[in-house]
């Protein structure tokens, strides 16, 4: 392990992996050379990454890793938001005030701002398998510790620590990026992220159901909710052990293989960091993702309680309604990515930006409507439309993020992910933690803020592709190569470190839209980006 330098935070190795532009095209062109000597269940490229995805297969190593990756992320979402549908019981048991409940919600999403950054390093050092297993098996004791919680402080602390587990977003995307070829990695990552996010919805159904079941078996409510938490705890143990026994870091099997690869250049963290933070688009997307994913995280925490209190529903009814919000992720997030790719085919990057703005603004508008809806059927309709808008916006955002930078792709993806959690914590703190606003008013204002904070999409301009309101620069100097090469200085270019960026630039010409005839060069075998 001594020969790997993994500068802190730079190793978001292919978090989205969208190095190529045709994220959703499953038809693999002949340009990707196939490795014929390997004995895999799926067709693979020269790095043994799968070129296809077969959802119903569990074959080693690709599909099994895919399923283990998304299931472990899913489990972490379940336990992070497991308390939310049970808050009506927990608030009586622990004598919580609205501020306590709000602070716990903020805590549950803030922990992973930091843990997601750390997970990147961990994945590079010991592999995504151990990164994932570490999180699952170490968060299980925290989940079990709700048996001991007896005060507001204990409750907030436990939710904060369980929230660290959302770092599995990084290990999940990292793992699938190693296993799948970049031409389909967009779809693969979108599905994995979407199905993982679904855990936030499933938990709203699962926990009240478990609570009712345990109450029927004789426990009193104040004990039943504690017992109910044991189930997510066991899920963590089962998932962690499955990942360790059934999982495999790389298509070829061993992490030690990765350690022996000396032909990959490890970039310097300081450079990667500088190019990430000085690119204004990074910060616009930090803000924007905060109001798509952030809003989604916030809603996962408040929606069940909102329906329970506002419409006087039973706990499990409120849970069912709240669940449909998170469950929409199954299709909504992949849909957002697909819509982004679809728009890009004709309109290029400008189409992607418009799609993002449209779906995220619609999400905000429906959130406003949700807060104002006075009848249950209208509220449910508003919530469903809102969920589709916000989740599609998450998928659409990650349709654009890979193009912001080639050198700092991993760090920008990680920063944006952290922005999502930051936005979630912020909205929860401002709108749902004090008694200034009722929850309904909080929802309305959050929707207004989401619409306002989506406007900066109009400011994102790529000289070679344009922006929402301005076409690409007519000056021929501003090409894709110019944009991506500008991240390297002369010395680095002389040493040939920028070749990966050049290849990416060539492939990204599809972002000009249909008008441009694209001549895609054959993808060379070792073009895997490495940000470690």
């Amino acid at each position: 392990m001594a020969d790997i330098e993994a500068p802190f935070g730079s190793s978001m190795h292919g978090v989205t992996g969208r190095e190529q532009s045709f994220a959703f095209s499953v038809a693999t062109p002949e340009t990707v050379p196939a490795e014929t000597s390997a004995n895999f269940a799926l067709p693979v490229d020269s790095e043994h990454r799968a070129k296809e995805i077969k959802i119903f297969s569990f074959a080693q190593p690709h599909m099994r890793s895919f399923h283990l990756a998304w299931i472990s992320f899913f489990t972490c979402f379940i336990s992070t938001f497991a308390a939310a549908p049970l808050v009506p019981i927990i608030r009586d048991n622990l004598d919580l005030t609205r501020a306590d409940i709000g602070n716990a919600g903020v805590a549950s999403v803030s922990g992973s701002i930091f843990s997601r950054l750390v997970m990147g390093v961990v994945c590079d050092l010991i592999g995504p398998r151990y990164g994932c297993a570490f999180v699952n098996l170490l968060v299980a004791p925290v989940v079990f510790s709700v048996a001991f919680v007896s005060s507001a402080e204990g409750y907030i602390a436990v939710r904060f620590m369980i929230g660290f587990s959302l770092a599995t977003f990084v290990s999940c995307q990292y793992w699938t990026s190693i296993m799948f070829n970049s031409k389909i990695i967009g779809l693969v990552n979108g599905v994995a992220a979407g199905w993982g996010d679904m855990g936030g919805g499933v938990t709203q159904l699962l926990m009240p159901f478990l609570f009712q079941l345990i109450k029927m078996l004789g426990a009193t409510p104040f004990t039943a909710w504690r017992i109910a938490f044991f189930i997510p705890g066991w899920l963590h143990i089962i998932t962690g052990i499955m990942v360790l026994t059934l999982g495999q870091d790389l298509p070829d099997g061993n992490l030690s293989t990765l350690q022996k690869r000396g032909d990959v250049h490890k970039d310097k963290f300081a450079k990667v960091f500088r190019h990430a933070v000085t690119n204004y688009r990074t910060w616009i997307f930090f803000l924007i993702y905060g109001f798509s994913m952030g809003v989604e995280l916030c809603i996962n925490n408040v929606i069940a309680e909102y329906f329970f209190d506002r419409f006087n529903l039973k706990l499990h009814t409120a849970g069912i309604i709240a669940a449909s919000f998170g469950m929409a992720n199954f299709a909504a997030r992949p849909f957002g990515g697909f819509a982004s790719d679809f728009a890009a085919r004709k309109f290029g990057m400008r189409g992607r930006l418009w799609v993002l703005w449209i779906v995220q603004t619609l999400g905000g508008v429906f959130c406003i409507w949700l807060g104002r809806a006075n009848s249950l059927p209208l509220a449910i309709l508003a919530m469903i439309l809102f969920s589709i808008g916000a989740q599609a916006a998450c998928g659409a955002a990650y349709g654009i993020i890979p193009f912001i930078s080639r050198r700092s792709l991993g760090l920008i993806s990680g920063l944006t992910g952290a922005g999502g959690n930051f936005g979630g914590g912020l909205t929860q703190l401002v709108f749902f933690s004090s008694s200034t606003f009722s929850t309904a008013t909080g929802l309305t204002w959050m929707g207004v803020m989401a619409v306002a904070c989506t406007l900066p999409v109009a400011l994102v301009h790529f000289p070679q592709w344009g922006s929402m309101f301005f076409a690409a620069s007519k000056d021929a100097k501003y090409s894709e190569e110019y944009y991506y090469e500008s991240e390297w200085n002369e010395d680095e270019k002389q040493r040939g470190l920028h070749h990966g960026s050049l290849k990416f630039a060539e492939n990204s010409r599809s972002e000009r839209g249909k008008r441009q005839v694209i001549a895609l060069a054959a993808t060379p075998p070792h073009s895997t980006p490495n940000h470690g």
Partner: protein, 204 residues
């Protein structure tokens, strides 16, 4: 165009009116006399201690005021101090939306005499808070038509506390520790076993 707008707004308005119809607390007369056994400031343990409530009709009111009374529901209600910062316990005048009294002690048919009493063991899902007891009289249409309570109109006197169960159990604590230990041991166990295997295969 204007007619369509008028139609839409009148439909919306009528929906609003429909939802806000319901008995209000301020319209009720305090025709019942209610007493409860806990003294002011007494702490009652849920699951163990009992409360004895008694209620009767206040004869100083005109005869016939209670002619519509059919049933009495006695409830445990939150005192204002336990409602602070907790919107799910809010007092609202519209009784269909009011959340002050969330626990039912007993429901009995109405009897104007003096000997209505009931002894209630405080349920184990009663949260720790400060309470008073209120009784509502309902007519045959299940609408509130009268009330009585153990405290004054400002809900400041004669309040008592309930101390809830913690919900914790030793068996649960032990189970939690066992599973947590299993989790941590399996993680580090796997890690070290694989490390040793890797070292052994490297040495070969």
């Amino acid at each position: 165009m204007a007619r369509a707008a008028l139609l839409v707004s009148s439909i919306l308005l009528s929906c609003l009116v429909a939802t806000s119809y319901g008995a209000t607390f301020s319209s009720l007369m305090r025709t019942l006399v209610v007493t409860a056994s806990p003294a002011a400031g007494q702490v009652v343990k849920s699951g163990e201690d009992k409360i004895t409530v008694s209620w009767s009709y206040n004869n100083t009111f005109a005869r016939g005021t209670d002619s519509t009374y059919k049933t009495i529901k006695v409830k445990l209600c939150y005192a204002p101090i336990s409602q602070v910062d907790r919107a799910w316990r809010k007092t609202v005048d519209d009784l269909s939306k009011d959340k002050t009294c969330q626990f039912n002690i007993v429901t009995k048919p109405y009897n104007p005499s003096n000997n209505n009493t009931f002894t209630w063991t405080v349920e184990r899902d009663t949260p720790t808070a400060t309470y008073f007891v209120r009784a509502y009289a309902y007519n045959s249409a299940e609408e509130e038509v009268g009330f009585g309570q153990t405290t004054d109109s400002h809900k400041t006197t004669n309040l008592f506390e309930v101390h809830a169960i913690s919900g914790r159990h030793t068996s649960l604590d032990i189970a939690s520790i066992c599973f947590s230990a299993f989790s941590v041991v399996s993680l580090f166990g796997f890690f070290f076993i694989e490390k040793r295997k890797a070292k052994a295969s490297q040495q070969k």
